[in-house]
Amino acid sequence: MRTIPYKACLALLAAAPMPVVAQAPAPAQQSPAVPPDIRQALERMADALKTINNLEIKADLTSEEVLDSGQKLQSSGVLTIAARRPDRLFMQVDSERRTRQFIYDGKQVTIFGPKTGYYATVPAPATTAGLMDELSDRYGIDTPLADLFVWGASGVKLDKIKSAVDAGPDRIAGEVCNHYAFRQDGADWQIWIRQTGQPLPCKIVIVNTDDPSNPQTQAIFNWSQPQTIADARFQFTPPANAHRIQLMSVADTANIGAKP
């Protein structure tokens, strides 16, 4: 009596691999690359960003460049952001080598180099999130942490994520933050989100995986949420020594030198 079920069992086992193999990919295709708990964490963060009307961020920013040899060099700077939803932004990257400000009032955006006095003002889209795309697409400007505004407007683009890892809690500048890691085309990225209180980003790391040396940007945030931010912060008034110049679009740049 025992052998029969045993054989039946063997037969089942022998037959089992076929349906198991056949079925295995199905659940993988149906379930997104981002597990529900991680998806919820990103959504909570995006929701938190959406609720902030006035925010100020100071971030320590490091970025890397890759030489033709493959050697990486890292640079440091301080990123300052003041923003009012949905259409006001002041942003500055300040480093020993270069300082640039972006001032956006909902109608136009100015890029200003305080040290050289050169500024350029161009029309801008109606929202800060739209501005990020405009700067990127039309002017080729990679605004640091533009994602914060994109996430705060339309959430994290989960469909681009190909894998997601919950790396557990980590401590950033004395604060415990939940650490998540993602992979998508052209980028591996990590985000640390506050474990208690508002689920805001503590830190972000973005690795450029298009280049074999994998240069990375890192930002560690210090958030504040003032009641109000004065309009003047988002308006550019040229200082006495300022010189207006043009901001070339990507299309313009392609034509430089084409004229005889």
Binding site: E65, V66, A254, K259
Partner: protein, 205 residues
């Protein structure tokens, strides 16, 4: 075209213009024009830092180029992404790389993390006296032949040429609501390419 003395001296040594100091621009906020692009022919156009930039049809100062090649830390081929937003859009901008071949100047690299191939040539906040690299447009040569210290160097200053820094002694002049820099008889129009400033040789406004 007769060039003012300070411009002559400055232009006569384009190969010297590229400081060997690895003045990397840190946080440029500029979209690298596709990570793949820099390895392409771009390397040819800017392979040896200042030397290549000064090159093209303009300056053929072999010694200078070699010297630069030996001292340059190398060109920037890629940089980190300031945001995922950029990562998503980067491919749309790959066509900018045409500039490398148009001008023999890192025009797009100016938008490419602080000037890529020519560290210390400008692009950053020190726009005066940091040196100069001249790139000439092919054709329409309105230039001058000058002699540099050790090399017989022909420098062509044609409208449309792009440099990354001005000599000292230029003066800012406002015309048509925009700023120009007059250096002797040569006029430059400063402009932002990405977050970098470059100077395009123009006719007197």
């Amino acid at each position: 075209m007769i060039l003012a003395a300070q411009c002559l001296s400055m232009m006569a040594a384009p190969a010297l213009a590229c400081s060997p100091i690895p003045l990397l621009d840190p946080l440029t906020w500029v979209i690298p024009t596709a990570a793949a692009a820099p390895r392409r022919g771009g390397g040819g156009a800017r392979a040896s830092g200042g030397g290549a930039r000064a090159g093209g049809t303009a300056a053929r100062s072999g010694g200078g180029m070699n010297r630069q090649a030996a001292r340059s830390p190398g060109n920037v081929r890629a940089s980190s992404n300031g945001s995922l937003n950029r990562s998503a859009n980067v491919n749309r901008n790959t066509n900018v790389n045409r500039n490398v071949n148009v001008n023999n100047v890192n025009v797009n690299r100016g938008g490419y993390y602080g000037g890529g191939g020519c560290y210390g040539c400008g692009w950053d906040d020190d726009h005066f006296g940091a040196g100069l690299a001249v790139g000439a447009v092919t054709g329409a040569v309105v230039g001058a032949a000058v002699a540099s210290n050790n090399n017989s160097t022909t420098v062509v200053v044609a409208p449309g040429s792009v440099v990354t820094a001005l000599p000292s002694g230029c003066s800012a002049v406002s015309a048509n609501g925009m700023t120009y820099q007059q250096c002797g008889s040569v006029w430059y129009q400063p402009q932002y390419v990405g977050t970098s400033v470059q100077y395009v040789v123009v006719s007197q406004p």
